[in-house]
């Protein structure tokens, strides 16, 4: 400990570099480099600002993205049938225009899910602190940026001050070594981590991902990891940026250029934890031990390998956990001990800020090429951004999807949280590449099984939850 007293984690370094002042023992005033806004968690913040007679302090440090409430119909128009949603989008536009905030509106070529769009546009850079009124802001850790979600009151606070009153988190490191088996993806890794540490296992922590298996992931896979660690309660994730991150960012619209690019790259070399930095928790995982996972319950840690059975509550000695299991199984309409592959699905959904990137679509297309969706399944692909949609079309992926019987839709958050009209009906069972299987999340009474995009594709073809390793193609 004494030798490590001055050693800092990457998280500590980013927080220190953004500390405007210490407020008290526990809090600092933290500077926010970029603030991302969406139409559903910002309206009351803008109204609050106006009521108090305040203005946005640094308009150019803010970006607005329409993503949560918009329809994803295959033909995009500005029309939104839901009058409340339409008003939200309209109000968002009014506010962004009045305050001089750049906004990616519904018909903008850059529109998409905020956490897909922000990296895509080169807005998130290593070493930054980024806040957004959305819990999945942890995604930007994949680029070496500290991102975290905030509520609407703090959105207003950031708009007015470009800062936040921040209580630094404790440090946790998750090292993943070894090699992923065929058919196993970053989604399975993060689901395995959540399964192991539980949905509050990282509450109060910032998580640094490290290890050779993490370094071997492409940037999209790293985003999947950082994005979904919030489901274990983490309020921030980081990863030391490497050449893959630099290659990902170079040439993107908001990425630095020329002399700034060179200076930035030199600076980013220092964005790593010191060798003797201390982590209050240090977990290890062997990627080779991870199998494709699916959730059986209503909490993201309630998962099993696809080849396994749903748990039997009678084997759970703890009465509270037993009751929780029984309740989850009842909601999900699953018999105790039922084989996961015996569950017949009604819907298949590929998309979301967790798994709506081009790499995710490619993984699904590999499974779907030359195959058909089971006749009883309604299957949808909602690209993570309009750019992802165009890129996928350039590669011909949309042809594979539509030939297989998937709907090829426009971008948005869509059925991940079902704020728009993409909703599960009561009792409908859905294989979903999203991040939350909460009761009612995708529609009242809807039954969500979380899994990787390739696994969703396999399930869509089989008509039942299925093992992508036996369906093949992945």
């Amino acid at each position: 400990m004494s030798a490590g007293a001055a050693a800092l984690t990457l998280y500590d370094k980013i927080v220190a570099a953004h500390t405007v002042r210490r407020i008290d023992e526990a809090h600092v005033l933290l500077y926010i480099d970029r603030h991302i806004l969406n139409e559903y968690t910002s309206p009351q913040a803008f109204s609050g600002l106006a009521t108090a007679g305040r203005r946005v302090r640094r308009p150019a440090a803010n970006f607005g993205v329409v993503d949560h409430v918009n329809p994803t119909l295959p033909a995009r128009t500005a029309y939104i049938a839901d009058s409340q949603a339409a008003r939200q989008v309209e109000y968002f536009g009014e506010n962004c225009r009045a305050e001089g905030i750049e906004m990616f509106g519904l018909l903008d070529a850059r529109q998409g899910i905020e956490h897909v769009v922000v990296p895509e546009q080169g807005i998130a850079l290593p070493g930054m602190v980024i806040a957004c009124g959305d819990s999945h802001t942890t995604t930007y850790g994949a680029l070496g940026a500290l991102g975290f979600g905030i509520g609407t009151s703090d959105v207003e606070h950031v708009l007015a001050t470009q800062c936040i009153v921040y209580r630094p988190l404790r440090n946790m490191r998750i090292r993943i070594d070894g090699e992923l088996a065929p058919g196993v993806s970053a989604k399975d890794l993060i689901m395995a981590i959540i399964r192991r540490i539980g949905v509050a296992g990282a509450t109060g922590y910032a998580v640094e991902f490290a290890g050779e298996a993490v370094q071997r992931l492409d940037v999209a896979g790293r985003m999947t990891l950082c994005n979904m660690i919030v489901e274990a309660g983490a309020r921030g994730a980081v990863m030391a940026p490497d050449e893959a991150v630099a290659a990902f960012l170079q040439g993107r619209p908001h990425a630095p250029r020329g002399a700034n690019w060179l200076a930035a790259q030199a600076d980013w070399q220092g964005l790593r934890s010191d060798d003797d930095a201390w982590f209050e928790q240090d977990l290890q995982l062997d990627a080779a031990d991870v199998a494709p996972l699916v959730t059986w319950g209503t909490s993201p840690d309630q998962s099993v390998p696809i080849t396994a059975m749903a748990p039997d509550p009678r084997e759970e000695p703890n009465p509270e956990r037993r009751r929780a299991m029984e309740q989850a199984l009842a909601y999900m309409g699953i018999a105790a001990g039922a084989p996961m592959q015996s569950l017949r699905i009604d819907r298949a959904f590929i998309g979301s800020c967790t798994n709506g990137r081009l790499e995710d679509l490619r993984a699904a297309a590999q499974v779907l090429a030359g195959r058909k969706v089971a006749p009883h399944v309604r299957a949808m692909i909602v690209p993570g951004s309009s750019q992802v949609r165009r890129d996928a079309e350039r590669e011909g992926l949309h042809q594979i999807f539509t030939d297989a019987g998937f709907e090829w839709r426009q971008s948005g958050c869509s059925m991940c949280l079902a704020m728009n009209d993409d909703v599960l009906g009561p009792g409908e069972r859905c294989a979903s590449s999203t991040n939350r299987n909460f009761e009612g999340r995708q529609g009242r009474g809807g039954r969500t099984h979380l899994m990787s995009p390739a696994m969703v594709a396999a399930a869509a073809v089989a008509g039942y939850l299925a093992d992508v390793r036996s369906v093949g193609g992945a």
Binding site: L29, T152, T161, A264, R436, F438
Partner: protein, 208 residues
């Protein structure tokens, strides 16, 4: 923001673990542009059946608990989505404090921002309150933020600790933005040096 000093009232037990903000405030209530009219949305699927009728078995629909001022909750209450609507709705329903062993961290911040007091106790203390409050005749509590304690009907007290800064905010109903704006000159100075050291971080408006 509402000031919190001492509040007395009924506490309703909600022992289920991991009650997430989707359950606390479902999606159909997130489409407004104001903070108003969210009381009906709170625990909507638990409080109302598919036809909109009250589910009599749900604790907040039972006569003894309809006027609850407190919730005693299971672990990790408020996990999931950042939606502050969950907190606005709970406040509008009359809830002033939530007592549990752990909370979703964005939800907890949102509570502080709205004068709703999240109280963290040890699991066995929460368990004691859950058992107590399950009997409507014993569910009357007093929560005192000055003294940092929960008082039970028999006069016994459970002390709680709370972040000092958040306590001050709640006791005074302080405007957090005004507090931060006192440091506007320091923020300016920070920006100046931050951007000099990292010029690529300086934001530029489109076309600049």
């Amino acid at each position: 923001m509402a000031v919190f000093t001492s509040v007395s009232g009924v506490a309703a037990p909600l022992p289920q673990a991991n009650l997430d903000t989707d359950v606390i405030m479902p999606k159909q209530f997130l489409k407004g542009i104001t903070r108003d009219d969210l009381a009906r949305g709170v625990f909507f699927d638990l409080r109302f059946d598919a036809h909109g009728a009250e589910r009599t078995e749900f604790v907040l629909n039972q006569p003894a608990y309809r006027q609850s001022r407190f919730l005693v909750v299971g672990p990790n209450f408020g996990c999931g989505s950042s939606r502050e609507h969950a907190v606005w709705g709970l406040s509008q329903l009359g809830i002033r404090a939530i007592i549990g062993s752990s909370f979703g961290s964005i939800f907890q911040d949102n509570c502080y921002r709205n004068g709703l007091l999240p109280i963290c106790l040890l699991p066995h203390e929460v368990q004691r309150l859950l058992v107590l409050c399950a009997d409507a005749d014993c569910a009357q509590l007093r929560v005192d933020l000055l003294e940092q304690m929960v008082e039970l009907p028999d006069g016994s007290r459970i002390a709680f600790s709370i972040d000092a800064l958040r306590r001050e905010d709640l006791l005074n109903g302080r405007d957090a933005i005004a507090s931060t704006l006192q440091f506007a000159a320091e923020i300016d100075a920070f920006e100046h040096s931050h951007w000099r050291q990292h010029p690529w971080l300086a934001p530029k408006l489109a076309g600049e």
